[in-house]
Point group: C2
Chain length 371, copies 2
Amino acid sequence: MFKNDFSFELITQDDKARLGKIHTPRGLIDTPAFMPVGTLGTVKGIFVDDILKTNTQIILGNTYHLMLRPGIELLKQFNGLHNFMNWNGPILTDSGGYQIMSLSKLNKIDLKLGAIFTSHLDGKKIILSPEKSIQVQKAINSDIIMVLDECPKLTKDKNILSNAIHTSTEWAKRSKTEFGNNKSKGLFGIAQGGLFKDLRTESISKLIDIDFDGYAMGGLAVGENQSDMFKILNETVDLLPIKKPRYLMGVGTPSDILGAVNEGIDMFDCVMPTRSGRTGLAFTWEGKLNLKNSKFKKDKSPLDENCDIRCLNKYSKSYLNHLIKSDEMLASMLISLNNVNFYQQFMREIRNNIKNGTFKNFYKKYINFFD
Amino acid sequence: MFKNDFSFELITQDDKARLGKIHTPRGLIDTPAFMPVGTLGTVKGIFVDDILKTNTQIILGNTYHLMLRPGIELLKQFNGLHNFMNWNGPILTDSGGYQIMSLSKLNKIDLKLGAIFTSHLDGKKIILSPEKSIQVQKAINSDIIMVLDECPKLTKDKNILSNAIHTSTEWAKRSKTEFGNNKSKGLFGIAQGGLFKDLRTESISKLIDIDFDGYAMGGLAVGENQSDMFKILNETVDLLPIKKPRYLMGVGTPSDILGAVNEGIDMFDCVMPTRSGRTGLAFTWEGKLNLKNSKFKKDKSPLDENCDIRCLNKYSKSYLNHLIKSDEMLASMLISLNNVNFYQQFMREIRNNIKNGTFKNFYKKYINFFD
């Protein structure tokens, strides 16, 4: 193994909570890690150099969106997304599967062909095969590539979930073959199985047979209760290989993250900090604040008196309340940045507490703090 | 005169073009100067610390907007707009007159009472007297305060223009009385008279009798041809006192500014750089670029290879084209910043050329460059 190969290092555990490092040629990622979402080649409303200042070490791109806009041909001319958007750190891309279900008009899942869908932008019919998804992610030049999976909507129908596992497993094999031997990048498998322990166990077992560089829990954060999500994580995360990173896709609130770290998850992504930022919702060590609320109208205190990125410690809640009410872009800019910065502070505290063996105390203090 | 008093220093002239400095307790302003517009306490889409990096020395606030939102009571609690928005440099505020005409439902101009209008936000009836406008601007804590004037729409009706001069002159006197003896701030009179030399001469003469710290040309940039604007400036700017700053309100394009400097104007404000920035229009030394145009789709060059503010020299036109087409906020953020920065570069070049006695060459080169 060369120093620059993709690899995962498990440093220590505090009960199930894990402290680790993912090494990639483009930089290391301390885990548990939060990945801000840069759907279309930009983390919405944040300058790239400010993302760096929040100590973000990896961002996520959406394959489905990027293949539609700007398109793969253009990204190839830039040798990938990093140069195109001026983000030099690692990038993880999803496979496109999730957005095909949620955004496009999905025509058909065809085991042999792939996902057949209609673009939500221009109605064009597109076929995304497992091979094509890997090719697109290679053109994006992602550092962590996800296999194409079938991600059903929240359901208790075991037949639907079983079929999805069957399709996802076949596609995972084909993805691995297409990915080939590429030690500088990581290829992650995605487990399905809804909230059923037996199904998820089956899915995980089949993925382990194929052998991936990391494993994701898919089909969660699709509308189930938090307690149901924590339960299935509690029942199945232990089945994943100890020496590989574990990624809970599309999660979540600070409390979701805390509970999942408590079950042994290492990686997270979510639009929460930026989407909330655009609606005036701020995450802070005082809790979750709705800055639209008129109780902040005369509040001279800043969101985070210790954060001098973009002078965040100088803007009062009163001023932010005014900007939101006046529909000013600067509100989204400041609160989105605050939120990503808060999430990264939160992850740092999680890591420090695992390191110090005090994670359980931290967990108890904050598990219900942001509700 | 104390060092901290408001004052104007005329350094040199190149034909009619003037190089000067406005001194204020909050900092100096090199003239000819461009003031980005911060309507509601934010220059739209730009962080305050980035505005500073563009070498912007003064910004403009809109009295009409600020008295409606966040309101004067709140601004008083922050000791003015500077603290509220974290801009420590000088601020000029207009009197509210222009927006009353253009935005609100104006009920009546009453010589005695003031402008009687209905808020465009909540339909509330408000009376803005000359005295009230000065009081509001003092609460904003503006460094340069404009008198309340009556600014008619573009018209050739000399009766309307004459009446507006009469009202504006009376209000200017009352504004001066209300302003009182305040050497740390500047109070500017506003000349009206449309495109008529005789009327504008009359208005200017009456304002000079009252004696202001600076003089503005109002009632221009209201829809007339550029050549008509340059003509009336050519005929009347010379009538203004040499030792006082001259401000052309609401102007304009780089070419408008260049032509007005050529007639002896010192100060400008306009929403052009930020409003254009939000619609994908970039001002550069290559000219005015519509970045929505698909000809930029594969263009790897940056807008300004010499500008490292927010890494502006690293983002390609191709990337900006993608962001605009994807309706991403970062497009507005990057292009607005580029445009304000370009305007300030342009003003610096104007000043350097006046200093070096080469203004006429610069004028010839750029007067039609941005059309």
